[in-house]
Amino acid sequence: MINVRNIKKTFGPKIAVNGISFEVEKGEVLGFLGPNGAGKSTTMRMITGFIPPSGGEITIGKFKMNDQPIEAKRLIGYLPENAPSYADMTVLGFLNFAAELRGLQGDARKRAVGRAVEMCFLETVLHQSVETLSKGYRHRTCFAQSIVHDPEVLVLDEPTDGLDPNQKYEVRTLIRRMGEKKAIIFSTHILEEVEAVCSRAIIIDRGKIVANGTPRDLKQRSEHAGAVTLRLLDGSAAAVKGTIDGISSVDRTVVISESPLTVRAYPRKNTSSDDLSRALGEAALRERWQLQELHIEEGRLDEVFRNITLPDTAAAAKEASK
Protein backbone atom coordinates (compact mmCIF):
# COMPACT_ATOMS: atom_id res chain seq x y z
CA MET A 1 0.00 0.00 0.00
CA ILE A 2 2.78 2.41 0.88
CA ASN A 3 5.80 2.38 -1.37
CA VAL A 4 8.61 4.78 -0.56
CA ARG A 5 11.48 4.81 -3.01
CA ASN A 6 14.75 6.53 -2.27
CA ILE A 7 13.23 9.75 -0.93
CA LYS A 8 15.41 12.66 0.03
CA LYS A 9 14.75 15.98 1.69
CA THR A 10 17.10 18.86 2.10
CA PHE A 11 16.37 22.10 3.95
CA GLY A 12 18.98 24.47 2.62
CA PRO A 13 22.35 22.89 3.38
CA LYS A 14 20.83 20.51 5.95
CA ILE A 15 20.02 17.01 4.76
CA ALA A 16 17.02 15.84 6.76
CA VAL A 17 16.25 12.63 4.89
CA ASN A 18 18.87 10.94 2.77
CA GLY A 19 17.58 8.16 0.57
CA ILE A 20 14.96 6.20 2.50
CA SER A 21 13.13 3.28 0.86
CA PHE A 22 10.62 0.86 2.31
CA GLU A 23 7.25 -0.72 1.71
CA VAL A 24 4.28 -1.34 3.95
CA GLU A 25 1.54 -3.76 2.96
CA LYS A 26 -1.98 -4.11 4.32
CA GLY A 27 -1.99 -6.00 7.59
CA GLU A 28 1.37 -4.58 8.58
CA VAL A 29 2.17 -2.19 11.39
CA LEU A 30 5.49 -0.51 10.81
CA GLY A 31 7.20 1.09 13.79
CA PHE A 32 9.34 4.09 13.01
CA LEU A 33 12.16 4.61 15.46
CA GLY A 34 14.99 7.01 15.72
CA PRO A 35 16.52 9.71 17.89
CA ASN A 36 15.03 13.21 17.83
CA GLY A 37 15.88 14.97 14.61
CA ALA A 38 16.61 11.73 12.76
CA GLY A 39 14.09 12.60 10.05
CA LYS A 40 11.06 10.61 11.25
CA SER A 41 8.55 13.45 11.09
CA THR A 42 9.99 14.78 7.85
CA THR A 43 9.58 11.35 6.26
CA MET A 44 5.99 11.11 7.48
CA ARG A 45 5.23 14.59 6.19
CA MET A 46 6.48 13.55 2.78
CA ILE A 47 4.47 10.33 2.81
CA THR A 48 1.29 12.24 3.63
CA GLY A 49 1.99 14.81 0.93
CA PHE A 50 2.45 17.79 3.24
CA ILE A 51 5.95 18.53 2.03
CA PRO A 52 7.28 17.51 -1.37
CA PRO A 53 10.41 15.35 -1.33
CA SER A 54 13.57 16.79 -2.90
CA GLY A 55 14.03 13.47 -4.66
CA GLY A 56 12.57 9.99 -4.88
CA GLU A 57 9.02 8.78 -5.20
CA ILE A 58 6.10 7.94 -2.93
CA THR A 59 3.22 5.74 -4.04
CA ILE A 60 0.08 5.22 -1.99
CA GLY A 61 -2.07 2.38 -3.30
CA LYS A 62 -1.70 2.85 -7.02
CA PHE A 63 -1.38 6.62 -6.91
CA LYS A 64 1.88 8.52 -7.02
CA MET A 65 1.84 11.35 -4.49
CA ASN A 66 3.55 13.58 -7.01
CA ASP A 67 1.13 13.03 -9.89
CA GLN A 68 -2.20 12.37 -8.18
CA PRO A 69 -1.95 13.93 -4.74
CA ILE A 70 -5.71 14.16 -4.16
CA GLU A 71 -6.34 10.48 -4.95
CA ALA A 72 -3.34 9.43 -2.85
CA LYS A 73 -4.34 11.64 0.09
CA ARG A 74 -7.84 10.18 0.04
CA LEU A 75 -6.41 6.82 1.08
CA ILE A 76 -4.46 8.22 4.02
CA GLY A 77 -5.40 9.10 7.56
CA TYR A 78 -2.81 11.25 9.28
CA LEU A 79 -2.12 12.17 12.86
CA PRO A 80 0.57 14.88 12.77
CA GLU A 81 3.08 15.38 15.55
CA ASN A 82 1.57 17.20 18.56
CA ALA A 83 -1.93 16.39 17.29
CA PRO A 84 -3.00 19.83 16.07
CA SER A 85 -6.68 20.77 15.91
CA TYR A 86 -8.76 23.91 15.57
CA ALA A 87 -8.96 25.22 19.13
CA ASP A 88 -12.17 27.17 18.58
CA MET A 89 -14.22 24.20 17.36
CA THR A 90 -16.14 21.62 19.35
CA VAL A 91 -14.99 18.02 19.09
CA LEU A 92 -18.08 17.14 17.08
CA GLY A 93 -17.69 20.17 14.83
CA PHE A 94 -14.07 19.32 14.19
CA LEU A 95 -14.82 15.69 13.32
CA ASN A 96 -17.71 16.72 11.08
CA PHE A 97 -15.38 19.13 9.31
CA ALA A 98 -12.77 16.41 8.76
CA ALA A 99 -15.40 13.93 7.55
CA GLU A 100 -16.85 16.49 5.15
CA LEU A 101 -13.44 17.27 3.69
CA ARG A 102 -13.06 13.53 3.23
CA GLY A 103 -16.16 13.66 1.07
CA LEU A 104 -18.57 12.07 3.57
CA GLN A 105 -22.09 13.50 3.53
CA GLY A 106 -25.36 13.13 5.43
CA ASP A 107 -25.96 9.76 7.05
CA ALA A 108 -22.63 8.33 5.96
CA ARG A 109 -20.90 11.21 7.70
CA LYS A 110 -22.94 10.75 10.87
CA ARG A 111 -22.11 7.05 10.98
CA ALA A 112 -18.43 7.66 10.30
CA VAL A 113 -18.13 10.32 13.00
CA GLY A 114 -20.08 8.14 15.45
CA ARG A 115 -17.76 5.22 14.83
CA ALA A 116 -14.61 7.34 15.26
CA VAL A 117 -16.02 8.89 18.45
CA GLU A 118 -16.74 5.46 19.85
CA MET A 119 -13.32 4.07 18.97
CA CYS A 120 -11.55 7.00 20.59
CA PHE A 121 -13.83 7.26 23.65
CA LEU A 122 -14.87 10.84 22.99
CA GLU A 123 -18.59 10.58 23.82
CA THR A 124 -18.33 12.67 26.99
CA VAL A 125 -16.62 15.67 25.39
CA LEU A 126 -18.44 15.85 22.04
CA HIS A 127 -19.85 19.33 22.61
CA GLN A 128 -16.85 20.79 24.40
CA SER A 129 -14.58 23.10 22.47
CA VAL A 130 -11.16 21.65 21.76
CA GLU A 131 -9.28 24.36 23.69
CA THR A 132 -10.97 23.36 26.96
CA LEU A 133 -9.85 19.73 26.66
CA SER A 134 -6.99 18.02 28.43
CA LYS A 135 -4.03 16.96 26.37
CA GLY A 136 -5.12 13.34 26.24
CA TYR A 137 -8.54 14.23 24.88
CA ARG A 138 -7.08 16.66 22.38
CA HIS A 139 -4.79 13.94 21.18
CA ARG A 140 -7.63 11.49 20.82
CA THR A 141 -9.71 14.07 18.96
CA CYS A 142 -7.00 14.42 16.36
CA PHE A 143 -6.59 10.66 16.28
CA ALA A 144 -10.33 10.29 15.66
CA GLN A 145 -9.98 12.72 12.77
CA SER A 146 -7.37 10.45 11.18
CA ILE A 147 -9.60 7.37 11.23
CA VAL A 148 -12.94 9.02 10.50
CA HIS A 149 -12.97 7.90 6.85
CA ASP A 150 -11.72 4.39 7.67
CA PRO A 151 -8.57 4.87 5.58
CA GLU A 152 -6.53 2.02 4.13
CA VAL A 153 -3.32 3.76 5.13
CA LEU A 154 -2.70 5.29 8.51
CA VAL A 155 0.29 7.48 9.31
CA LEU A 156 0.63 8.30 12.99
CA ASP A 157 3.35 10.57 14.31
CA GLU A 158 3.85 9.72 17.98
CA PRO A 159 0.26 8.60 18.59
CA THR A 160 0.78 7.87 22.29
CA ASP A 161 2.71 11.01 23.14
CA GLY A 162 1.24 12.76 26.16
CA LEU A 163 -1.24 10.04 27.04
CA ASP A 164 -1.52 8.42 30.45
CA PRO A 165 -0.67 4.70 30.77
CA ASN A 166 -4.28 3.59 30.38
CA GLN A 167 -4.80 5.69 27.31
CA LYS A 168 -1.52 4.47 25.88
CA TYR A 169 -2.70 0.93 26.34
CA GLU A 170 -6.00 1.72 24.63
CA VAL A 171 -4.35 3.42 21.68
CA ARG A 172 -1.91 0.53 21.25
CA THR A 173 -4.73 -1.96 21.27
CA LEU A 174 -6.55 0.17 18.73
CA ILE A 175 -3.52 0.35 16.44
CA ARG A 176 -2.94 -3.37 16.67
CA ARG A 177 -6.57 -4.10 15.90
CA MET A 178 -6.68 -1.72 12.95
CA GLY A 179 -3.35 -3.04 11.74
CA GLU A 180 -5.01 -6.29 10.75
CA LYS A 181 -6.71 -4.61 7.81
CA LYS A 182 -4.72 -1.45 7.17
CA ALA A 183 -1.20 -0.45 6.36
CA ILE A 184 0.01 1.54 9.36
CA ILE A 185 3.16 3.53 9.98
CA PHE A 186 3.73 5.00 13.39
CA SER A 187 6.64 6.69 15.04
CA THR A 188 7.44 6.45 18.71
CA HIS A 189 10.14 6.88 21.30
CA ILE A 190 8.76 4.11 23.45
CA LEU A 191 10.46 0.86 22.57
CA GLU A 192 8.06 -1.45 24.43
CA GLU A 193 5.42 -0.03 22.16
CA VAL A 194 7.25 -1.36 19.14
CA GLU A 195 7.40 -4.83 20.65
CA ALA A 196 3.75 -4.67 21.65
CA VAL A 197 2.30 -3.37 18.41
CA CYS A 198 4.57 -3.59 15.38
CA SER A 199 4.98 -6.39 12.94
CA ARG A 200 8.09 -4.65 11.65
CA ALA A 201 10.32 -1.83 12.77
CA ILE A 202 12.63 0.58 11.03
CA ILE A 203 15.28 2.52 12.87
CA ILE A 204 16.43 5.68 11.18
CA ASP A 205 19.27 7.89 12.18
CA ARG A 206 20.47 11.08 10.54
CA GLY A 207 18.20 10.62 7.59
CA LYS A 208 19.06 7.01 6.79
CA ILE A 209 17.63 3.62 7.60
CA VAL A 210 20.06 1.86 9.91
CA ALA A 211 17.94 -1.19 10.73
CA ASN A 212 14.84 -2.80 9.27
CA GLY A 213 13.24 -5.98 10.55
CA THR A 214 10.74 -7.57 12.91
CA PRO A 215 11.16 -6.54 16.54
CA ARG A 216 12.49 -10.09 17.12
CA ASP A 217 15.13 -9.74 14.42
CA LEU A 218 16.22 -6.42 15.78
CA LYS A 219 16.46 -7.69 19.30
CA GLN A 220 18.79 -10.42 18.15
CA ARG A 221 21.28 -7.78 17.16
CA SER A 222 21.68 -7.03 20.82
CA GLU A 223 25.03 -8.17 22.20
CA HIS A 224 23.28 -10.11 24.95
CA ALA A 225 20.93 -11.86 22.56
CA GLY A 226 21.48 -15.60 22.74
CA ALA A 227 23.45 -15.44 25.99
CA VAL A 228 22.26 -17.63 28.85
CA THR A 229 21.79 -16.17 32.32
CA LEU A 230 21.85 -18.33 35.46
CA ARG A 231 20.85 -17.37 38.97
CA LEU A 232 22.03 -19.58 41.83
CA LEU A 233 20.96 -19.70 45.46
CA ASP A 234 24.48 -20.30 46.72
CA GLY A 235 27.99 -21.13 45.55
CA SER A 236 31.14 -19.11 45.02
CA ALA A 237 31.40 -16.86 42.02
CA ALA A 238 34.92 -17.94 41.11
CA ALA A 239 34.10 -21.67 41.22
CA VAL A 240 30.96 -21.30 39.14
CA LYS A 241 32.71 -19.07 36.62
CA GLY A 242 35.56 -21.57 36.39
CA THR A 243 33.17 -24.44 35.72
CA ILE A 244 31.25 -22.57 33.08
CA ASP A 245 34.38 -21.31 31.35
CA GLY A 246 35.37 -24.96 31.05
CA ILE A 247 32.33 -25.80 28.91
CA SER A 248 33.30 -26.05 25.26
CA SER A 249 30.38 -24.06 23.85
CA VAL A 250 31.03 -21.08 26.14
CA ASP A 251 32.89 -18.12 24.71
CA ARG A 252 33.14 -16.05 27.89
CA THR A 253 31.41 -15.69 31.21
CA VAL A 254 30.45 -12.55 33.07
CA VAL A 255 29.49 -12.40 36.74
CA ILE A 256 26.67 -9.92 36.93
CA SER A 257 26.14 -9.99 40.69
CA GLU A 258 27.57 -11.89 43.66
CA SER A 259 24.45 -12.16 45.71
CA PRO A 260 22.26 -13.59 44.50
CA LEU A 261 24.92 -15.11 42.31
CA THR A 262 24.05 -14.26 38.71
CA VAL A 263 26.24 -15.32 35.83
CA ARG A 264 25.83 -14.77 32.13
CA ALA A 265 27.48 -17.08 29.61
CA TYR A 266 27.95 -16.07 25.99
CA PRO A 267 27.94 -18.78 23.33
CA ARG A 268 30.81 -19.33 20.94
CA LYS A 269 30.24 -18.53 17.31
CA ASN A 270 28.30 -21.25 15.49
CA THR A 271 26.84 -22.49 18.74
CA SER A 272 23.11 -22.17 19.24
CA SER A 273 21.75 -20.82 22.49
CA ASP A 274 19.75 -24.01 22.88
CA ASP A 275 22.91 -26.10 22.94
CA LEU A 276 24.49 -23.70 25.37
CA SER A 277 21.55 -23.80 27.74
CA ARG A 278 21.50 -27.58 27.57
CA ALA A 279 25.21 -27.78 28.43
CA LEU A 280 24.73 -25.35 31.30
CA GLY A 281 21.78 -27.36 32.62
CA GLU A 282 23.87 -30.51 32.59
CA ALA A 283 26.72 -28.73 34.39
CA ALA A 284 24.28 -27.50 37.02
CA LEU A 285 23.07 -31.06 37.66
CA ARG A 286 26.61 -32.40 37.80
CA GLU A 287 27.83 -29.72 40.18
CA ARG A 288 24.59 -29.82 42.22
CA TRP A 289 24.05 -26.08 41.92
CA GLN A 290 20.92 -24.73 43.59
CA LEU A 291 19.64 -23.32 40.32
CA GLN A 292 16.98 -20.65 40.75
CA GLU A 293 16.71 -19.42 37.20
CA LEU A 294 18.15 -20.23 33.81
CA HIS A 295 17.01 -18.35 30.73
CA ILE A 296 18.11 -17.43 27.25
CA GLU A 297 18.39 -13.68 26.74
CA GLU A 298 16.15 -12.46 23.93
CA GLY A 299 18.05 -9.25 23.63
CA ARG A 300 16.75 -5.82 24.34
CA LEU A 301 15.51 -3.33 21.82
CA ASP A 302 16.74 -0.32 23.75
CA GLU A 303 20.23 -1.74 23.69
CA VAL A 304 20.08 -2.30 19.95
CA PHE A 305 18.70 1.18 19.52
CA ARG A 306 21.52 2.69 21.55
CA ASN A 307 24.18 0.67 19.77
CA ILE A 308 22.93 1.56 16.33
CA THR A 309 22.21 5.23 16.88
CA LEU A 310 24.55 6.38 19.63
CA PRO A 311 27.83 6.37 17.72
CA ASP A 312 26.35 8.67 15.13
CA THR A 313 24.76 10.97 17.64
CA ALA A 314 28.01 11.16 19.57
CA ALA A 315 29.82 11.94 16.33
CA ALA A 316 27.31 14.65 15.56
CA ALA A 317 27.75 16.15 19.01
CA LYS A 318 31.51 16.11 18.51
CA GLU A 319 31.12 17.80 15.17
CA ALA A 320 28.88 20.46 16.70
CA SER A 321 31.27 21.18 19.56
CA LYS A 322 34.20 21.84 17.24
Binding site: K9, T10, F11, G12, R45, T48, G49, F50, I51, P52, P69, I70, E71, K73, R74, I76, Y78, P80, E81, N82, P84, S85, Y86, A87, D88, M89, G93, F97, A98, E100, L101, R102, G103, S129, C142, Q145
Partner: protein
Amino acid sequence: MSTASFSPIKTIAKRELSGYFSSPVAFVFIVIFLLLAGFFTFMVAGFFERGEANLSAFFVWHPWLYLFLVPAVGMRMWSEERRLGTIELLLTMPVTPWQAIVGKFLASWAVVALALALTLPIVITVNYLGNPDNGVIFAGYLGSLLMAGAYLAISAMTSAMTRNQVVSFILAVVLSLFLILAGYPPVTNMLVQWANPLVVDGIAAFSVMTHFESIQKGVIDSRDVIYFLSVIVFALFTTGVILRAHRAG
Protein backbone atom coordinates in the same frame (compact mmCIF):
# COMPACT_ATOMS: atom_id res chain seq x y z
CA MET B 1 -15.53 23.08 -13.09
CA SER B 2 -17.18 20.16 -11.37
CA THR B 3 -19.22 20.48 -8.20
CA ALA B 4 -16.72 18.13 -6.54
CA SER B 5 -14.10 20.86 -6.50
CA PHE B 6 -16.51 23.34 -4.93
CA SER B 7 -17.59 21.24 -2.02
CA PRO B 8 -14.23 21.41 -0.18
CA ILE B 9 -14.29 25.19 -0.71
CA LYS B 10 -17.71 25.31 0.89
CA THR B 11 -16.65 23.12 3.79
CA ILE B 12 -13.53 25.19 4.44
CA ALA B 13 -15.42 28.49 4.12
CA LYS B 14 -18.07 27.24 6.54
CA ARG B 15 -15.46 26.26 9.12
CA GLU B 16 -13.66 29.55 8.68
CA LEU B 17 -16.89 31.52 9.18
CA SER B 18 -17.71 29.60 12.33
CA GLY B 19 -14.18 30.42 13.47
CA TYR B 20 -14.79 34.14 12.94
CA PHE B 21 -18.02 34.07 14.89
CA SER B 22 -16.90 31.81 17.72
CA SER B 23 -14.12 34.28 18.49
CA PRO B 24 -14.71 38.01 18.99
CA VAL B 25 -12.99 38.86 15.67
CA ALA B 26 -16.11 39.18 13.53
CA PHE B 27 -18.17 41.01 16.16
CA VAL B 28 -15.41 43.45 17.01
CA PHE B 29 -14.80 44.14 13.35
CA ILE B 30 -18.46 44.71 12.56
CA VAL B 31 -19.14 46.90 15.59
CA ILE B 32 -16.02 49.03 15.15
CA PHE B 33 -16.63 49.36 11.44
CA LEU B 34 -20.19 50.55 11.97
CA LEU B 35 -19.21 52.95 14.74
CA LEU B 36 -16.34 54.48 12.82
CA ALA B 37 -18.29 54.63 9.55
CA GLY B 38 -21.09 56.41 11.42
CA PHE B 39 -18.72 58.76 13.20
CA PHE B 40 -16.90 59.84 10.06
CA THR B 41 -20.01 60.12 7.94
CA PHE B 42 -22.12 62.13 10.37
CA MET B 43 -19.64 63.95 12.60
CA VAL B 44 -16.61 64.55 10.42
CA ALA B 45 -18.06 64.74 6.92
CA GLY B 46 -21.29 66.37 8.10
CA PHE B 47 -23.67 64.14 6.18
CA PHE B 48 -26.79 66.14 7.15
CA GLU B 49 -25.21 69.57 6.83
CA ARG B 50 -24.22 68.83 3.24
CA GLY B 51 -27.84 68.50 2.25
CA GLU B 52 -26.90 66.24 -0.66
CA ALA B 53 -28.94 63.19 -1.56
CA ASN B 54 -25.95 60.89 -2.05
CA LEU B 55 -23.63 58.74 0.03
CA SER B 56 -20.26 60.18 -0.97
CA ALA B 57 -19.76 61.38 2.62
CA PHE B 58 -20.12 57.74 3.61
CA PHE B 59 -18.00 56.02 0.96
CA VAL B 60 -15.13 58.50 0.98
CA TRP B 61 -13.89 57.06 4.27
CA HIS B 62 -13.92 53.42 3.27
CA PRO B 63 -10.37 53.16 1.90
CA TRP B 64 -9.06 54.49 5.22
CA LEU B 65 -11.38 52.47 7.45
CA TYR B 66 -10.51 49.30 5.61
CA LEU B 67 -6.83 50.09 5.84
CA PHE B 68 -6.80 49.11 9.51
CA LEU B 69 -9.89 46.99 9.89
CA VAL B 70 -9.59 44.59 6.98
CA PRO B 71 -6.04 43.41 7.79
CA ALA B 72 -7.35 42.74 11.31
CA VAL B 73 -9.88 40.35 9.83
CA GLY B 74 -7.42 38.70 7.48
CA MET B 75 -4.31 38.53 9.63
CA ARG B 76 -5.13 35.16 11.17
CA MET B 77 -6.09 33.46 7.94
CA TRP B 78 -2.88 31.46 7.45
CA SER B 79 -0.66 32.59 10.28
CA GLU B 80 -2.99 30.92 12.79
CA GLU B 81 -2.94 27.69 10.79
CA ARG B 82 0.83 27.78 10.81
CA ARG B 83 1.04 28.61 14.50
CA LEU B 84 -1.34 25.83 15.55
CA GLY B 85 0.07 23.33 13.06
CA THR B 86 -3.40 22.74 11.62
CA ILE B 87 -2.02 23.66 8.21
CA GLU B 88 -0.51 20.19 8.23
CA LEU B 89 -3.95 18.68 8.74
CA LEU B 90 -5.62 20.89 6.18
CA LEU B 91 -3.10 20.34 3.41
CA THR B 92 -2.92 16.57 3.89
CA MET B 93 -6.67 16.34 3.35
CA PRO B 94 -7.78 15.52 -0.19
CA VAL B 95 -7.96 19.23 -0.92
CA THR B 96 -5.91 21.31 -3.33
CA PRO B 97 -4.15 24.33 -1.84
CA TRP B 98 -6.16 26.70 -4.01
CA GLN B 99 -9.42 25.27 -2.67
CA ALA B 100 -8.21 26.04 0.84
CA ILE B 101 -7.01 29.51 -0.17
CA VAL B 102 -10.27 30.40 -1.91
CA GLY B 103 -12.42 28.91 0.87
CA LYS B 104 -10.69 30.94 3.53
CA PHE B 105 -10.72 34.09 1.45
CA LEU B 106 -14.44 33.82 0.69
CA ALA B 107 -15.26 33.36 4.37
CA SER B 108 -13.38 36.49 5.39
CA TRP B 109 -14.94 38.39 2.51
CA ALA B 110 -18.38 37.32 3.73
CA VAL B 111 -17.62 38.84 7.15
CA VAL B 112 -16.80 42.17 5.53
CA ALA B 113 -19.84 41.90 3.27
CA LEU B 114 -22.03 41.37 6.32
CA ALA B 115 -20.60 44.50 7.97
CA LEU B 116 -21.25 46.42 4.78
CA ALA B 117 -24.81 45.07 4.56
CA LEU B 118 -25.47 46.34 8.08
CA THR B 119 -24.91 49.90 6.87
CA LEU B 120 -28.13 49.69 4.80
CA PRO B 121 -30.01 52.00 7.22
CA ILE B 122 -28.00 54.87 5.76
CA VAL B 123 -29.39 54.02 2.33
CA ILE B 124 -32.88 54.06 3.76
CA THR B 125 -32.17 57.38 5.48
CA VAL B 126 -30.92 59.06 2.34
CA ASN B 127 -33.90 57.72 0.40
CA TYR B 128 -36.27 59.04 3.05
CA LEU B 129 -34.69 62.47 3.07
CA GLY B 130 -34.29 62.97 -0.64
CA ASN B 131 -34.19 61.36 -4.05
CA PRO B 132 -30.75 59.85 -4.45
CA ASP B 133 -29.58 57.94 -7.50
CA ASN B 134 -29.73 54.41 -6.14
CA GLY B 135 -27.67 53.16 -9.07
CA VAL B 136 -24.78 55.30 -7.87
CA ILE B 137 -25.27 53.99 -4.33
CA PHE B 138 -25.24 50.43 -5.59
CA ALA B 139 -22.03 51.12 -7.51
CA GLY B 140 -20.53 52.58 -4.34
CA TYR B 141 -21.32 49.42 -2.41
CA LEU B 142 -19.95 47.23 -5.18
CA GLY B 143 -16.73 49.26 -5.29
CA SER B 144 -16.40 49.15 -1.53
CA LEU B 145 -16.88 45.38 -1.47
CA LEU B 146 -14.34 44.87 -4.25
CA MET B 147 -11.85 47.11 -2.48
CA ALA B 148 -12.31 45.17 0.75
CA GLY B 149 -11.70 41.99 -1.25
CA ALA B 150 -8.44 43.39 -2.58
CA TYR B 151 -7.26 44.31 0.94
CA LEU B 152 -8.31 40.90 2.21
CA ALA B 153 -6.42 39.07 -0.50
CA ILE B 154 -3.35 41.12 0.43
CA SER B 155 -3.88 40.20 4.09
CA ALA B 156 -4.18 36.54 3.09
CA MET B 157 -0.85 36.84 1.32
CA THR B 158 0.94 38.49 4.25
CA SER B 159 -0.58 36.03 6.72
CA ALA B 160 0.89 33.17 4.70
CA MET B 161 4.34 34.68 5.18
CA THR B 162 4.49 34.39 8.95
CA ARG B 163 3.09 32.55 11.93
CA ASN B 164 2.89 35.84 13.80
CA GLN B 165 -0.42 37.65 13.43
CA VAL B 166 1.01 41.04 14.39
CA VAL B 167 3.65 40.86 11.68
CA SER B 168 1.02 39.74 9.22
CA PHE B 169 -1.20 42.70 10.20
CA ILE B 170 1.55 45.29 9.87
CA LEU B 171 2.70 43.98 6.48
CA ALA B 172 -0.87 44.03 5.18
CA VAL B 173 -1.39 47.61 6.41
CA VAL B 174 1.83 48.79 4.77
CA LEU B 175 1.03 47.15 1.44
CA SER B 176 -2.55 48.44 1.48
CA LEU B 177 -1.35 51.91 2.41
CA PHE B 178 0.92 51.85 -0.61
CA LEU B 179 -2.04 50.93 -2.82
CA ILE B 180 -3.96 53.87 -1.41
CA LEU B 181 -1.22 56.47 -1.52
CA ALA B 182 -0.17 55.70 -5.08
CA GLY B 183 -3.39 57.31 -6.24
CA TYR B 184 -4.21 59.64 -3.35
CA PRO B 185 -4.50 63.17 -4.80
CA PRO B 186 -2.27 64.93 -2.20
CA VAL B 187 0.48 62.42 -3.01
CA THR B 188 0.02 62.40 -6.78
CA ASN B 189 -0.09 66.22 -6.85
CA MET B 190 3.23 66.26 -5.08
CA LEU B 191 4.73 63.65 -7.39
CA VAL B 192 3.69 65.56 -10.50
CA GLN B 193 6.15 68.33 -9.58
CA TRP B 194 9.06 65.90 -9.92
CA ALA B 195 8.06 63.24 -12.32
CA ASN B 196 6.55 62.96 -15.73
CA PRO B 197 2.72 63.11 -15.40
CA LEU B 198 2.51 59.94 -17.48
CA VAL B 199 4.62 58.09 -14.92
CA VAL B 200 2.49 59.46 -12.10
CA ASP B 201 -0.64 58.36 -13.90
CA GLY B 202 0.90 54.97 -14.46
CA ILE B 203 1.59 54.58 -10.76
CA ALA B 204 -1.85 55.90 -9.89
CA ALA B 205 -3.39 53.22 -12.11
CA PHE B 206 -2.15 50.71 -9.53
CA SER B 207 -3.96 52.49 -6.72
CA VAL B 208 -7.24 51.38 -5.21
CA MET B 209 -8.12 55.07 -4.80
CA THR B 210 -8.24 55.77 -8.53
CA HIS B 211 -10.49 52.81 -9.21
CA PHE B 212 -12.66 53.15 -6.14
CA GLU B 213 -13.36 56.81 -6.88
CA SER B 214 -14.26 56.06 -10.46
CA ILE B 215 -16.72 53.31 -9.46
CA GLN B 216 -18.12 55.54 -6.73
CA LYS B 217 -19.19 58.07 -9.33
CA GLY B 218 -21.70 55.50 -10.47
CA VAL B 219 -19.93 54.20 -13.54
CA ILE B 220 -19.21 50.53 -13.24
CA ASP B 221 -16.34 50.47 -15.68
CA SER B 222 -15.09 47.00 -16.49
CA ARG B 223 -11.52 48.27 -16.14
CA ASP B 224 -12.10 49.13 -12.50
CA VAL B 225 -13.77 45.81 -11.77
CA ILE B 226 -10.98 43.99 -13.56
CA TYR B 227 -8.42 45.96 -11.55
CA PHE B 228 -9.86 44.82 -8.22
CA LEU B 229 -10.36 41.27 -9.39
CA SER B 230 -6.82 41.08 -10.68
CA VAL B 231 -5.42 42.38 -7.38
CA ILE B 232 -7.42 39.63 -5.65
CA VAL B 233 -6.30 36.92 -8.06
CA PHE B 234 -2.69 38.04 -7.96
CA ALA B 235 -2.55 38.21 -4.16
CA LEU B 236 -4.25 34.82 -3.75
CA PHE B 237 -1.98 33.28 -6.35
CA THR B 238 1.03 34.67 -4.46
CA THR B 239 -0.45 33.21 -1.26
CA GLY B 240 -0.32 29.80 -2.95
CA VAL B 241 3.27 30.33 -4.04
CA ILE B 242 4.30 31.38 -0.52
CA LEU B 243 2.57 28.39 1.05
CA ARG B 244 4.22 26.02 -1.39
CA ALA B 245 7.64 27.58 -0.83
CA HIS B 246 7.13 27.30 2.90
CA ARG B 247 6.27 23.60 2.64
CA ALA B 248 9.12 22.85 0.26
CA GLY B 249 11.50 24.29 2.88
